[in-house]
């Protein structure tokens, strides 16, 4: 995202109208002609068929570091493009809204909050996609969360229902999870746990608790 124009620019380093990521990488060098960011649509339109989507262009400088309006984009180039391809393939299982949100967060620059916030870490986007796909494929009932960046560059996922809330916040090596619930007398109770990103059983248990399938907070 260009902080000044609010325009998302493809950081993939790929140009053209690819039929597949690998194919487009082979034929599209980084020296694609410039197109003003302000003339581009704000986000990928995930609901639009690939063949009719607008051509994605980007700026680059002479240092092989892609820049938009003088600001270098995050590393992990190509993730937003991969995300679009995964979405189009229908294998991701995530909504277009979620995919667009991820692309939007990936474009955040340092100081996006007007202060000292860090850019959204690309590897955090990968962890988030991995978690959502895992929960979506494991649970019989699953609703997508609201996704936000943290000022440290990690992801925060939040689910709400009438009685309970569940939050996953990325850290350098785990998901920091907080569940809160309103008890019979109206008091709010908070539960906290740090769970390894690979501990699928615990991650699923936390969501099952939120969904009411578990009465007691399941993570010790």
């Amino acid at each position: 995202m260009n902080a000044k124009t609010g325009t998302l620019v493809d950081r993939s380093g790929l140009g053209g109208e690819p039929s597949g990521v690998l194919a487009s990488r082979e034929v599209c060098p980084r020296t694609t002609p410039f197109v003003a960011a302000s003339q581009q649509p704000r986000f990928f339109d995930f609901a639009q068929p690939v063949s009719t989507r607008p051509r994605r262009e980007f700026f680059s400088n002479n240092n092989n570091r892609i820049q938009v309006a003088g600001s270098p984009l995050n590393e992990f180039e190509g993730f937003s493009h991969e995300l679009r391809s995964l979405y189009v393939s229908g294998r991701l299982g995530l909504s277009s809204k979620m995919c667009q949100r991820l692309v939007e967060l990936l474009a955040l620059q340092r100081g996006w909050d007007g202060g000292m916030a860090m850019p959204f870490k690309p590897e955090e986007a990968a962890h988030t996609v991995s978690l959502l796909i895992m929960l979506n494929s494991t649970l019989p009932r699953f609703n997508e969360p609201f996704l936000a960046p943290t000022i440290a560059g990690f992801a925060q996922l939040e689910w709400h229902n009438k009685q309970r809330t569940l939050e996953f916040e990325g850290t350098s090596d785990a998901w920091s999870i907080v569940g809160s619930e309103t008890k019979m007398r109206g008091e709010r109770v908070y539960h906290q746990a740090d769970v390894s990103r690979s501990d699928i059983e615990e991650l699923v248990a936390a969501y099952r608790w939120f969904d009411g399938a578990e009465l007691l907070w399941p993570i010790i």
Binding site: L105, L108, V178, S180, Y190
Partner: protein
């Protein structure tokens, strides 16, 4: 104005206004994410010198979509220190005599509690 730049003691009953960035606000549900209440030194404005609207208008980037209010006592109960930190003006930025810091480590439950106890004081149309 000069008088306003002296730091004062903020009473427990005082309201503090915290700007909410658009990335921390779910427009579909109207909910604020707990991530909006992060940072060792979290900035807010003291009601003595600011209204919620004025707090929102101090952000010229257009990214503020809401302003939440908290009492100083609530912050102090969560092991935070509330410090009046008036900011002098410089260049094109006006002085902010209302500026206040909510200082302290904010664990995830602390951020959630701040969010759960905050009240929406202003919302972008």
């Amino acid at each position: 104005m000069a008088d306003h730049l002296a730091s004062e003691v903020i009473p427990d009953s005082a309201l503090l206004f915290r700007r909410i960035h658009r990335h921390f606000f779910d427009p579909e549900t109207g909910r604020v994410m707990s991530g909006a209440f992060d940072g060792q030194d979290m900035s807010a404005d003291w009601e003595k010198y600011s209204t919620p609207t004025q707090t929102a208008e101090r952000d010229t980037s257009g990214n503020t979509v809401a302003v939440a209010s908290l009492t100083a006592a609530l912050c102090r109960n969560l092991e935070q220190t509330v410090l009046h930190d008036p900011l002098p003006g410089h260049q094109d930025i006006a002085a902010n005599p209302a500026h206040t810091l909510v200082r302290g480590r904010k664990s995830k439950p602390t951020k959630q509690k701040l969010r759960d106890l905050a009240i929406l004081a202003w919302k972008k149309e």
